[in-house]
Symmetry: C2
Subunit: 68 residues, 2 copies
Amino acid sequence: MTNLILTVDGMTCGGCANSVKKALASVAGVTEVEVDLAAKRVSVQHDGSADEGALRSAIENAGFDVIG
Amino acid sequence: MTNLILTVDGMTCGGCANSVKKALASVAGVTEVEVDLAAKRVSVQHDGSADEGALRSAIENAGFDVIG
């Protein structure tokens, strides 16, 4: 298992967090996503096959900004 | 110009609305998107070339539900 921590800007409520979760869950290999709204932190657990670029793109395509 | 009105569930704040707007704006042919959060109404203006299925998919992929 691989864990990736990203900082994501633009999430302001549970609906936003849900949006990011669903977008990431649709990327092949992702097994779990956790969002800490206050910290802007998104934790993505995957089986090692998920490409970091694909994960970042999924968040950007959902309308949020990966800032770290 | 073609205008499509969709009812979208799960948007609860301006960040959600922004997410839906950006997801739709990335679909080829889309020229303008307006979101009425309270009414759950999303208005999409496009040049006639945008496929309705692609518009619905963009919203679903961003983590929101098209319910009408």
